[in-house]
């Protein structure tokens, strides 16, 4: 049972464009939603995170939008650069519960020059 559903599986964007990755969840006990970035041969690295009482969080070119009623959240990468080419994972955790971070299946982003 996939606790966090992520789409699309892969995404190709031109340099300067906007990359959008979407995630959905069912467990309303989740109370923190981090995004991770992973380059080939490396471990995932925390990119940005949001709590469900916030509808949007922006850090540089990266923005998380959160829709609590729809149980959906998304990552927007503005002015996408070739260096952003990586696999992105959304994740969710019930911090007051098992403290087990669950990941989506990932989106492989390719930004063409």
């Amino acid at each position: 049972q996939q606790q966090v559903k992520q789409s699309p599986q892969s995404l190709i964007v031109q340099k300067g464009g906007i990359s959008i990755i979407n995630c959905a969840y069912e467990n309303t006990a989740f109370d923190y939603f981090p995004w991770y970035q992973q380059f080939p041969g490396k471990g995932p690295a925390l990119l940005i995170a949001i709590r469900p009482d916030v509808s949007e969080k922006k850090e540089g070119r990266f923005t998380i939008s959160f829709n609590k009623s729809a149980k959906q959240f998304s990552l927007h990468i503005m002015d996408s650069q070739p260096g952003d080419s990586a696999t992105y994972f959304c994740a969710a955790i019930n911090g007051g519960g098992s403290e087990k971070l669950v990941f989506g299946k990932g989106t492989k982003l390719t930004v063409n020059p």
Binding site: Y32, K42, G43, P44, I93, G96, E99, L101, F103, G106
Partner: protein, 116 residues
Amino acid sequence: GAGVSQSPRYKVAKRGQDVALRCDPISGHVSLFWYQQALGQGPEFLTYFQNEAQLDKSGLPSDRFFAERPEGSVSTLKIQRTQQEDSAVYLCASSSDRGASTGELFFGEGSRLTVL
């Protein structure tokens, strides 16, 4: 150290062999996690330690998998009688106490296990 260190980075084992994967967490991090990442998939939780106590091992796929963290620092993931389906990247992550509850983990580069 500056980050989470894992060794070996690559391990090739013949089916039936035992393997041991080591994780050196960030100094001072009380929480340590092991995840399994199959090719093209997201990391899947295996087990969680707070200091030396293993608080959750619900993700270990079988009794062939065993993890320990005897002194609350270095951890070892052991896989006995390896099978081909064990082939994956094994990721270790550490965090502060607060980071564990917010999912803000620091991952190592992983140990890639190939079982022939």
